[in-house]
Structures are given as structure tokens and as C-alpha cells.
Symmetry: C2
Amino acid sequence: MHILMTGAAGMIGRKLTARLVKDGHLNGQPIEKLTLTDVVAPAVPQGFSGKIDLTVSDLPAPGEAGKAIAEKPDAIFYLAGVVSGEAETDFDKGYRVNLEGTQQLLAAIRKTGGGYKPKFIFTSSMAVFGAPFPPAVHDEFHLTPLTSYGTQKAICELLLADHTRRGFLEGVGIRLPSIVVRPGKPNKAASGFFSSIIREPLAGQETVLPVDDSILHTHASPRSAIGFLIHAAGLTRAQLGDRININMPGVCCTVAEQIAALRRVAGDKAAARIHREPDELVMRIVAGWPSRFDARRAGALGFKAEASFDDIIRAHIEDELGGKIAA
Amino acid sequence: MHILMTGAAGMIGRKLTARLVKDGHLNGQPIEKLTLTDVVAPAVPQGFSGKIDLTVSDLPAPGEAGKAIAEKPDAIFYLAGVVSGEAETDFDKGYRVNLEGTQQLLAAIRKTGGGYKPKFIFTSSMAVFGAPFPPAVHDEFHLTPLTSYGTQKAICELLLADHTRRGFLEGVGIRLPSIVVRPGKPNKAASGFFSSIIREPLAGQETVLPVDDSILHTHASPRSAIGFLIHAAGLTRAQLGDRININMPGVCCTVAEQIAALRRVAGDKAAARIHREPDELVMRIVAGWPSRFDARRAGALGFKAEASFDDIIRAHIEDELGGKIAA
């Protein structure tokens, strides 16, 4: 099996690569080749015995999408994307990367022909939904995004579903909740603080909370996100039916509950490193996001997330900090 | 006021033009100029005292969208489109006309700048919804179209909402039910038979019914559709809120009830001109469409349709046949 991964240099890309290398197979088939692509060079994965192709590519640029799938990869993990805050401040860039990039890749696959029909696992987002919301956003709630990022993801979902229906590929879109705790440095995502308020205190650093403590939100760990992607790749067309875009499960809690979990896991000193500095742009974007989900379909299809926010913090400490917390 | 109309040579375009000319104003402002554009030359409207610009244009072609809005029309009625059957059989053409054409026009408006912010009335379709459906498709039901046409319309709705939210224009999308009775010759729309089974018998001609009598569907007359467009143009951003794409009302009935209404209005002889010839492609497309709607929002916003299918037939006899039915 040959796997293509776009956005491979990103956090999810690196973790998914490591998991695929560790597993050595996908859907019971040995992985013979990994093609990793991104706008910056992806790192060479360690310990992989198969072929590796690392490429730097700007997917929406002419000819790039065609090159990316020239060797007809069997499965495509589509992780490329401009994050929500940046898509909101740079309208052109957001549409170019998040919409045109996907369109180009779908078109290149469609034009390949000769029975080529790859598995296409697309990372979507809960930002496809927009306020006002019912108490829990269920699987049949309409798509009325209130950000350009959410709009771009919703459009890609529609394109993926139509290309799947027409038989050009086998698509599945997974709507990720906020991925927390993200390792490394903050990115430009408006949701970045959900990670920072845990990650920085655990590392002994001060951090800023730009929204109110009462904000209710749904989270899943990077470890769960990788699990969702792998699980999605194994779902059949018969299991998915026509509605291939699915809400993923997660832990729903308030910022106050996140901080309480941090206090339980890492003590008062860690919690005291969070400083409140309201940010209007972030508050406006977050207010347009849903808080709670009824991810019934995902549950029935076998997707699994953490059971508590404490577990999400522990996953971060195990996976990123070697089990150690700053004093 | 300067009004631009795309798809102006089509049935709705011609009727909307006639209505605008008759009214002489839109939203209380006198109409000084009408720019009518289509891929074939629109007809010269009769009795209009203002300026008229008739243009033949292929909107997705480079530069054409920019030309269409170069004079900064105050209101744009966007009627252009490839119909459902054709969008299903010609994938490329459907996406080019129904998606790229809209994208080009939205981009041209956005790039105009200088405070230009036209009213943009977009004709969408109930085909944005896909089976399985609840007993009535309500305003918050999710968008999972089962045709390429429905996919293209749903994507345009999302783009229109995002462009409106970002302040580039004032958009409103109206999801038309099937427009029945369409005058003239059958077009390539899969829904064409809903009109043919009334229009041809009233004109003394034989016609074919390609689906089962039990098919339940929602209809509005061309007269109502024009009313929806004019009413939509008058709605304010405050009235619409963020959810600018709205289900339109209509008359919900089975094909058998349509035929019964025909019998009441035009007699047994007319009804006997309908011949049953099942067509698999048409049946498959129609099976993916919703049948009944709860158009509560449209009602609250003041949109009005006919009260019965008899009224829809009578509107056709009045507007198209000069009150006369074939013996």
C-alpha cells in the first residue's frame, strides 16, 4: 500500500506518520511507500523500512496536485490547511489553500481515470457549524459556518461527498473537535488557547486566557485525532452510506473545568500560571463555534475519544513530556 | 437603480424582466437601468423607459465576471445555471457553470472595493437536501445533496453567506421548489415532467410520466417564483441574520393529486393525455429529492406561494394560455 499525506509537516501529520510507521500497515495491508508532502519539507520518519518520498509542494499551484497523485497512491490523508484565525484575517490565502488546494487534488484524481479510486480521508472541523445551536449539535444539524475557515471546510465536505457519490474516489470527512493539548509552540488558530492554558503551565510557563472561564467546548487529544484518522481509513462505503462527513466525539467541558482538571493533575501552582486577557477577535470567533455535540453516528461507527479532560492532560504528559511535569 | 440579471434569457429571467419593467421600481427605487446577460442573447424587453444593456456572456470565462459588474449594479439577480439533469450527465459543465461562474462573479464584486456592496439575490434549490429525510424538511436540516446540481447550489450558498458575512455584498439565497407549470418546451431538468404532465394536456398534446403516481413533491408557479425573487430583494440584513439561505414555500402534493387537479380544472380528456413510461435516471434523481418542507422561516419573512395545485394550474392558464384550454 502506498499512502500520500498532505500537510505532513504539521503536528497531526508528524504524529500520523509516526503511527503509520509504528503500525507498518493500514487496513491490514503492509505500507510499502509513504509520500509526505507539505509547503515546508516534512521530516524524515525514523524506523520505516519501506520507500519514502518527501516533497515540498503548494497544492493549489498549477500542476502540483497532478504531481502529488501521479503514482496513484492507494490512500490519501488530506491534512493540508490554513488555520481558522489566519483564514479569517487573510481571505485570499484561506480560500486558495483550504478550497482551491482540495479542488485541484480532487480534479487530478478524477482525471486520472483507468479505475483509479483512492481512499481519501479528509480532516474537516466542527467549525462547519454556526450559531445559534441546539443544546447539542447532532449529526443532522445544518451547515451555516460563521467563519471563512468553516465555510471552506464545509465546501470541501460537499465536494468530497459528490466525488465519492460519482465514484471518483472513496471519501470520508472527519469533523475534528479542538485538538488539545497541541504540543510545541502556539499556532495562529483561534482555538490555540485551549491548548496553551494546559501546555504552558505544565512546562512551567505563564500563559494567557483570551476568553471567559464559562466557555464550553469539545476537545480530543492528538492521540485520539490520529486514532480517528486511522479508523476512518478502515470504514467501507457500505458503512458510511452517502453521508460521508461525520462529527467526531470528544470531551465537552468549560474552560473552568479544564483549569480544574489541570489543578487535579498538576497542582495549584500550574493553574496559577494562567492569566486572563480578553481578546475580542478570538472571543468573536469562538462565540460562533458550537460547544457540545451528539456524536452518535461516530459512536456507532466505532470512533473513540477520551472519557475526561484529565485523560486528555495525561495523554499530553505521557506523549510529549515523558511523564514529567514542571515543578 | 441599476439591476444586473444573469441567466436573463431563461424562463425565470424573462418573467422577472417583464415584472421589473411593469413595476418600474425595486424596493421603492425607480429602475433606471437593466443589464440583462446570458449565454444566448436575451430578448429586448417591451415598454421599458430606462436604459437597457443586453449582453451575451459566459461568466466563468476569464474577465467576463468583471465586465458584468464593471458599472457597479445596485442589485444582481443571479439566475444563471445548468439544470439538474445536465449537471448530472456533464460533470465538468455543471461545475464550470454552476460553481465557477458564481465564484468568478463573487470574486469580481469583492475586488471592486470602494464601498461597492450590491444586493445579490441567488436562486438556489431544494436539491441542496438529500435523502433520507424527516417527514418535512425544516429550515435547520443538514445539506447532504445527492446530485452534482444540489452540491453546486449548496456550495454557492455557503460562498454567498461567507461573502455577505465579510461585508462584500448583501446576499440572499432562495431555495426554490420545483417551478410548475413551466411554459414552453421541456428543458433538461430531471423535474421537467412535473410541468409536462400539466402543460401538454392543457395544450391538447400527449405527454409522458416517467415516475410513479405516488411521488410526493413541492411546487410553486413561475408567478410565485418571481414574487419570491422580488420579495427577497427587499429583505434587510437585519431581517435575514446570518442564515441568508432560505427554503421557499410551495404546494406539496403527489403526482396523482396533480393529475386529479388537472382533471378538476380541465376535464378527463386532458388527464387521459398522460402516458406512463418509467425512466430510471429520472426516478433515481427524484428519489434523492425531498418531498415536503416546513418553510416556517419563509412564512415569517413574508414569502407567499399558491394555496393549492389547482391554483398553480390556473396561474398557468391565465399567464400563458390567455385563459384558454385545448378541447
